[in-house]
Amino acid sequence: MLDPIEFPRIKAEGFDRTSDPTPAYNCVAWAANDQARWWWPIGPDHSGCEAFWPKKAPRKNTLKAFTLAFKTLKYEQCKDGTFEKGFEKIAIYAIGTTPTHAARQLPDGKWTHKIGRNIDISTTLSSVEEGIYGKAVRFMKRKIPK
């Protein structure tokens, strides 16, 4: 189901499928807990409305723009994806410095990923690395409201 050429670590690390495929939202939206929109800082000509992006973040495909987008949801940059009780974390993946993917940590420490227009999966942080998403390069966290 997930191509081992695109995801070379997925077979070894395993995953649980947690949804059907849908083009309604993508990984960034899913990390932001939004299942109604496709989030992206827009396509090559930067002039359409084909994707949602928070107003306060620049419409550029950069780590800075992604960081500012998640800051609008009260996330702050943190060191890594280690589980911290009372906090929710997100990870931004990139090839070089170009963002490709985002994931959100679940209360059990696993990570939930929306794979493009494909399925949602629950797995590790590293299982989708080294393929089409590159590496998890930036981490952010926010307090889970009590």
Partner: protein
Amino acid sequence: MNDAATFNWSVADATRLDISMPYYGPGANTAVILADFMLAPETDAEKFQRLKVEWEEKTINLSSFDQMVAHPAYVAIIAMGKRAVPFLLAEIKTSPNHWFFALRKITGANPIPKTAAGNLRKMTEAWLKWGKKNGYPN
């Protein structure tokens, strides 16, 4: 292709034939007519379908909008120009997907309100409404 198998002809055989004849006369060879059929260029509908399936398969795991719309199959659909518009509108009606960028690039129209940005259902509605207004039957 099943018909070709019945006649024991392959595409390789067909390519060796002279199929430049302007019409099929009364004594035309059945195999020549069949070869012409087999080598006929794709219709717009066939081309759109082939490119659409390729794009859907090859980009299903991408989240990056930039990468999705830069895929050669997507670019080739944009290159079809206005001939692709009826197929794109029919496609989003039956199976909504991210064809809105292609529609905007081809038509120059931008009917999606800012409040609908990224919302598949609302973006689809906006483009179908545009299609109706611009003479594309739904």
